[in-house]
């Protein structure tokens, strides 16, 4: 009952007994499944040869007298599709370079990069370098997800925990957490370096003075640029060279922005344009209107005053209280970042899965066309 061909010849042998027929039938099915699962021709031949020898020996021992008995031997050997699937998985798993974890380093590198102020320079179309960096990191993770060929959830979880611990320890040792609550009751935490406390408080106090100055100037501007007024000498604080500053321009100058670097639309060339813009409806004004600036100034001053108060308060609290404020904020930010990164990388893996499924469907559908059987 031997299949008399050489192992490398695959499924060409035939025999006239039940065992031989069953083996030929099984090997044909196995060959199709191995092809569908994308094994190389060399591996397909090796698996077919081994399976054939295995089945020959099994048939010799069982010596089937009926088709049913021969089928029992095949049943003992196992499903052809499962064998092909597990072989494909084992070969994929042994491709170790594709399982590298180093793409995870993109996450901490990106998190560090977005905290470097110098990287926020405009690169193209009003978008900063950091914007492109984030998009690039997402694309890179997606590509590594395709290359990695496996889901990565636990790894990102471990990374998030590790980064949270490192950041919490580092920030607790080097900075004070200052909490802020916005008008929409959203709380966020800003970190002030322990060695920068004095200069930070000075900066906030200067900002309070600036905000008050902006408010006073804008109030004066509202009186100056009334429609009933005729053009007269305009104080320098409303001018940028020979052009008239609009309310948003006044605010930017008050915040220290040079008129040369300012958006040109925040200043106009004629008195009538200036009057028109200063009195325009907020929805039609360029930038914030005078009323909007006056309305928001108390909130800005309150925010800065509370920052100083919270900083003084947290400095006098024990380390445990500081960690209690740092940990939830850092863990939220870090886990969110890792979740986004995990989504990008696993999207790549999912893309690869869909691609592989598509390829298997294509191979299965075209198998009988002859091209796929040329092993």
């Amino acid at each position: 009952m031997y299949l008399t061909s050489h192992p490398s010849s695959g499924v060409s042998a035939m025999h006239d007994d039940f065992g031989g027929d069953a083996i030929v039938f099984y090997l044909a099915s196995l060959k199709k499944e191995l092809t569908v699962f994308g094994l190389s021709n060399e591996r397909i031949l090796a698996v077919l040869s081994e399976s054939k020898m295995h089945l020959i020996e099994a048939m010799e021992v069982a010596a089937p007298k009926t088709t049913l008995e021969a089928e029992r031997v095949l049943e003992q050997f196992g499903d052809a599709k499962l064998l092909a699937k597990n072989l494909a998985r084992e070969y994929a798993n042994t491709q170790k370079p594709k399982r590298s974890l180093w793409p995870l380093a993109i996450v901490p590198l990106t998190m560090i990069s977005i905290r470097i102020p110098y990287l926020y320079f405009e690169l193209h179309g009003g978008h900063s370098f950091v914007s492109f960096l984030l998009v690039g990191a997402g694309v890179a993770l997606f590509m590594f997800g395709i290359r990695g060929r496996r889901p990565m959830i636990v790894e990102f979880g471990v990374l998030a925990i590790a980064l949270t611990i490192v950041q919490t320890v580092w920030l607790s040792a080097t900075a004070y957490p200052v909490s802020h609550t916005s008008r929409r009751d959203m709380t966020y935490v800003e970190f002030v370096g322990r060695s920068n406390v004095v200069s930070q408080v000075e900066d906030w106090n200067k900002a309070i003075v600036s905000q008050r100055g902006i408010s006073d100037t804008v109030s004066a501007g509202k009186l100056l640029f009334q429609k009933t007024n005729v053009r007269h000498v305009v104080p320098n604080k409303f001018m940028a060279g020979s052009r008239y500053l609009l309310p948003e321009g006044i605010r930017e100058v008050g915040l220290g922005v040079s008129p040369k670097k300012m958006n040109p639309s925040l200043m106009v060339g004629t008195w009538s344009e200036a009057v028109s813009q200063w009195n325009a409806d907020p929805s039609h004004s360029v930038g914030a209107s005078a009323d909007q600036i006056l309305e928001s100034t108390p909130d800005s001053i309150s925010y800065l005053s509370l920052s100083i108060a919270h900083l003084n308060d947290i400095r006098n609290k024990p380390m445990l209280a500081q960690v209690g404020l740092t940990l939830p904020w850092i863990s939220t930010v870090t886990f969110s970042s890792c979740a986004i990164a995990a989504a990008a990388m696993n999207a790549g893996w999912l893309f690869w899965c869909l691609y592989e499924v598509g390829r298997r469907i294509y191979r299965r559908r075209t198998y009988h066309s002859g091209r796929q059987r040329a092993v």
Partner: protein
């Protein structure tokens, strides 16, 4: 131990007494485990091929007179080390399990 390492341990264990080809490995596992292995015989091949790629076993095609050649597998030194590791792990598992159950089999 999960499914994968169980089968790996069984395959390595079957090769402990000398080189075998696929069919003999399957028979040895079935005989020694008294039929405990419920998966199809062909499931040893993905494991064998992985072990070969990991160089825990070496394989050689042996020609036969009047029959197709067969692929014979043998343990390498790394394979023996891995088998010993499985043996220790399994003994610890059985010992822990028996401690909880309070029955026989404490290693």
């Amino acid at each position: 131990m999960g499914y994968k390492s169980e089968l790996e341990a069984l395959v390595l264990g079957a090769l402990r007494e000398g080189p075998l080809h696929g069919y003999r490995i399957a028979v040895a596992i079935r005989a020694k485990s008294e039929g405990a292995l419920k998966v199809g015989d062909n499931q040893i091949y993905p494991t064998l091929h992985r072990l070969e790629l990991e160089e825990l076993v070496v394989a050689e095609w042996q020609p036969q007179l009047g029959k197709p050649a067969r692929k014979v597998y043998a343990l390498t030194q790394s394979g023996i080390t891995r088998l010993e590791s499985h043996q220790k792990e399994w003994q610890k598992y059985v010992s822990n399990f028996s401690s909880v159950l309070g029955g026989v089999g404490n290693a």
